[in-house]
């Protein structure tokens, strides 16, 4: 097996001059394992000991293949990046390595021996530690107490505190074992979490998007710490979509796209541009999009919208500006967690800026208006989360329709709800948007995801809003419903409305958007015409690479 692996490496080295071509075409949905071995791009350090080797890993959820024939290897002391968009299969893969899931097929080898990792405890016993993106420490407890809870019983708190202090000094972590966690910054808390893993002497440390909650200074400090671990022989698997960081920290990167390993490359020989290209692949604009709009009037304008981090793991918004014009779909692309939720809340009016002149509808300042007032002014909203945000699961569709129409004419007279009108309006939406419900009084929770999504999009479009703001309109929705929703949005734009679509699905963005802006770490890029725009450029922006910021940005 090992021999076979090194053969692959050599093949890969021979292929290098033609790499970029290989990426371009590497979108096979049904690829057999034999030809993937030929096409796989593998770079490997030559001298260290192989720690973990995964080959031919497949993981399916229903008829969705999250990992399709993924092969991967990491060496002692290596810092290795796992790169990819949302839904590329990164989390699925590391969950299998950490024992949270079992692969459907494929082999995991640990130090040369095939293993079945039965659970996180088993993984920890083997020497695999993991720091989750949204780590959850006990806020009321001290650092040492938090660490003690994760370790087997037996060690005294004072003994543990000494160990924490020693290790903290050794790696420059700077964590005081007696501090209470709620007094620490997010970056410090993350180091507590790392420490918690480290005290179990792992040989492999998995870090899931660790920098998404950190300031640049904290990121630099984290990288220093990680390099010291690496020097002492700990391998680090670093999951990220941030291209510059990957190039700064890691030696190799494995890129996943739609569950397929599109290659493992040396990061110091790759430009951010090349990595971006591998990450997003090639996108071809769809026919519908090509009927570009004339230069319509600006309907919605946002000017220098900033918002501090609302919660610990949230992203602050940094001077976001955009203009949505009549007749167009403006897409806001980006990887999840870069400020999408925070921006959506600000556009809906659930969160409102304190200063004036941030959000305008047709020149009218609506910065201080709440959701109902904005709706009356002609904006429709579809938030990402259907259950509990866009809709109340325990209420009927009629009541859910009232949720966004109670402030409009006809729905409520003198404070009394017009019951017939309410039911009729919901029934009309259901008919017009092909919402299939078990029976007339069905609760929203009884509808399938696709049908409920058609309803929450449909109830907004039915009001012919001048501006429609949607987030992830087709997330978790079947293909038929997704096409239906996309064409409904295109139709609305064609009638002269402006559609702002936040989407993490690049394919969708390229399929229907007229202009595309990219949200990265709370910054929004300038909007670019979709015609002639390459996926590579968008990918660079999504990865936050400076190379993506052209002169126009």
């Amino acid at each position: 097996m090992l021999l076979f692996f090194f053969e692959q490496v050599q093949t890969a080295a021979a292929l290098r001059p033609h790499l970029s071509e290989a990426f371009m075409t590497a979108r096979p949905r049904t690829k057999t394992s034999t030809n993937s071995a030929k096409k796989a791009v593998v770079a490997a350090p030559t001298h260290q000991t192989l720690l973990l080797n995964a080959s031919g890993i497949v993981k399916r959820f229903g008829n969705f293949t999250a990992n399709d024939d993924v092969s991967f290897s990491i060496y002692e002391g290596e810092i290795h990046a796992l790169l990819g968009e949302n839904g590329a299969g990164k989390s699925t893969f590391v969950k299998m390595v950490y024992g949270l899931m079992q692969p459907d097929s494929g082999v995991l080898e640990w130090r040369g021996q095939p293993v079945t990792i039965t659970g996180p405890q088993h993984a920890r016993d083997m020497g695999i530690g993991m720091v989750f993106q949204h780590f959850s420490l006990f806020q009321a407890l001290t650092v040492a107490e938090n660490i003690q809870l994760a370790l087997p019983a037996g060690e005294s708190l004072s003994g543990l505190s000494d160990r924490v202090r020693r290790m903290s000094a050794e790696y420059g972590i700077g964590v005081d074992p007696d501090a209470r966690v709620h007094n620490l910054s997010v970056g410090q808390q993350q180091r507590v979490e790392i420490m918690r893993c480290l005290l179990q002497n792992p040989s492999l440390l998995i870090m899931d998007e660790p920098t998404s909650v950190l300031t640049p200074q904290e990121t630099d400090q984290l990288f220093d710490v990680l390099r010291r671990f690496s020097d002492s022989g700990v391998a680090i698997l670093f999951i990220s979509h941030k291209l510059d960081e990957i190039r700064a920290l890691t030696s190799r990167a494995t890129v996943l796209r739609r569950g397929i390993n599109v290659g493992t490359v040396d990061t110091d020989t790759r430009s951010a541009r090349q990595l971006a290209e591998m990450m997003v692949g090639e996108m071809v604009g769809d026919v519908a999009r090509n009927t570009a709009p004339s230069d319509g009037d600006v309907l919605l304008e946002i000017s220098h919208l900033s918002r501090p981090r609302p919660t610990q793991f949230a992203t602050p918004l940094r001077k976001i500006s955009l203009q949505a014009r009549q007749g167009e779909i403006l897409a806001i692309a980006g990887i999840a967690g870069n400020g999408q939720d925070e921006l959506m809340e600000a556009m809906i009016g659930e969160w409102r800026a304190e200063s004036d002149g941030i959000i305008f509808l047709k020149g009218l300042d609506i910065t201080h208006a709440g959701p109902a007032v904005r709706r009356n002014a002609g904006i429709g909203f579809v938030p990402e989360e259907r259950n509990g945000h866009a809709a109340v699961p325990t209420m009927s569709l009629a009541e859910n329709n009232l949720l966004t129409s109670h402030s409009l004419d006809g729905a409520v007279k003198n404070g009394v709800i017009d019951d017939d009108a309410m039911r009729q309006a919901a029934a009309d939406v259901a008919t017009a948007f092909d919402v299939r419900l078990p029976n007339e009084n069905s609760l929203a929770s009884a509808l399938s995801g696709g049908n409920l999504q058609k309803f929450v999009v449909g109830r907004e479009i039915a009001k012919s809003p001048e501006v429609l703001i949607v987030s992830q309109p087709t997330w978790g929705v079947d293909v038929g419903a997704a096409m239906f929703i996309r064409s409904a949005m295109l139709e609305l734009a064609a009638k002269g409305s402006a559609v702002v679509m936040i989407s993490q699905d690049l394919e969708e963005v390229f399929m229907i958007a007229h202009r595309i802006a990219v949200l990265y770490d709370g910054h929004l890029s300038a909007a670019m015409d979709a015609t002639g725009l390459t996926a590579e450029k968008v990918g660079l922006l999504m990865g936050g690479s400076a190379a993506g910021k052209g002169p126009d940005a």
Partner: protein, 303 residues
């Protein structure tokens, strides 16, 4: 004056028991408003057994057992069936008040010999101090020991660490492999046992007979006391003396013709508790350092 202080100490004993038990339950994240009901069940059981066997010590154990058993009902609903803790606790108080009345109906009018005082040799002979501190019944010493035990377990042992962890963030505790409901079950049962002991003190020492509803709202004061003590065991001890002292002050005040109406003194514990609640809510630091973050929140693992 010494007599007055002595009365304060005795009045505060039921509060110390009930509040430090509830404190442990709340630290694990469970708000059990059934303290009054558990105390009454403890009181009636202690009285019945003490009367039947002639042994107040056995009565004390019966009170503890009955309290824990009553808490078990709460645990079955609020933990097992994930019912709303507030409403379940109220149901427990209503039920416990009723059932204790039913059990105690034939016992009304009987009297028992209470717990004897224990004179600790030498120490009891110290003037004044000896009388105040070293001539009590066994439950007074037990109350102080239990407070110390609660403080020690909570702050210096792994068990206490786990209780605090479960009360602070039950999802994380579950993720680390701790049994959230198991820990809470034990904490609630312990709380019930302590409430039962607190209730038992009434017929065993304070008034050696049974009367329906004889706790007279002490369960609610104990709940207030836990908040007042900001979930710290030693502060419960101090708070119980303050609350007990206020009760006695009214009596003394009336006797001396004070102008402050006694009702306003009686309000102080409740008003002080509200003030503490506001302070806790206003100050994030204070809240995180003191109140269990998961208090009253329902946990079920399947999420």
């Amino acid at each position: 004056m010494e007599q007055l202080i002595l009365t304060v100490i005795l009045t505060s004993v039921p509060l110390i028991f009930a509040a430090s038990g509830e404190l442990i339950a709340e630290r694990s994240g469970v708000l059990n408003l059934g303290v009054e009901g558990m105390m009454l069940m403890g009181a009636v059981s202690a009285f019945a057994i003490a009367m039947g066997t002639g042994s107040p010590i056995l009565g004390m154990f019966a009170g503890a057992f009955a309290g824990a058993l009553t808490a078990g009902i709460f645990a079955f609903f609020a933990l097992g069936l994930a019912t709303n803790q507030v409403a379940t606790g109220l149901a427990l108080t209503i039920f416990g008040t009723g059932l204790s009345g039913l059990i105690g109906a034939p016992l009304v009018g009987h009297a028992i010999d209470g717990l004897p005082q224990i004179h600790i040799p030498l120490l009891a002979d110290i003037p004044i101090l000896g009388m105040l501190l070293f001539q009590h019944d066994i439950m007074v010493y037990l109350a102080v020991i239990m407070v110390g035990l609660c403080a020690w377990v909570l702050n210096a042992t792994r068990v206490g660490l786990i209780i605090r962890a479960v009360g602070d963030n039950h999802d994380s505790a579950h993720a680390l492999g701790y049994s959230v409901l198991g820990v809470r079950l034990l904490a609630v049962m312990f709380g019930g046992m302590m409430a039962g002991l607190g209730g038992a003190y009434l017929p065993l020492v304070l008034t050696p007979h049974w009367a329906e509803g004889m706790t007279a709202g002490r369960g609610w004061i104990a709940l207030a006391l836990v908040v007042f003590a900001s979930w710290r065991p030693w502060r419960v001890l101090g708070g119980a003396l303050v609350f007990g002292g206020i009760t006695i002050m009214q009596l003394a005040g009336q006797a001396r013709g004070w102008t402050i109406p006694s009702q306003f003194l009686s309000m102080l514990p409740y008003l002080a508790t509200i003030i503490v609640l506001v302070l806790i809510a206003r100050n994030r630091e204070f809240a995180l350092a003191n109140s269990p973050a998961c208090l009253g929140r329902i946990f079920h693992a399947g999420k």
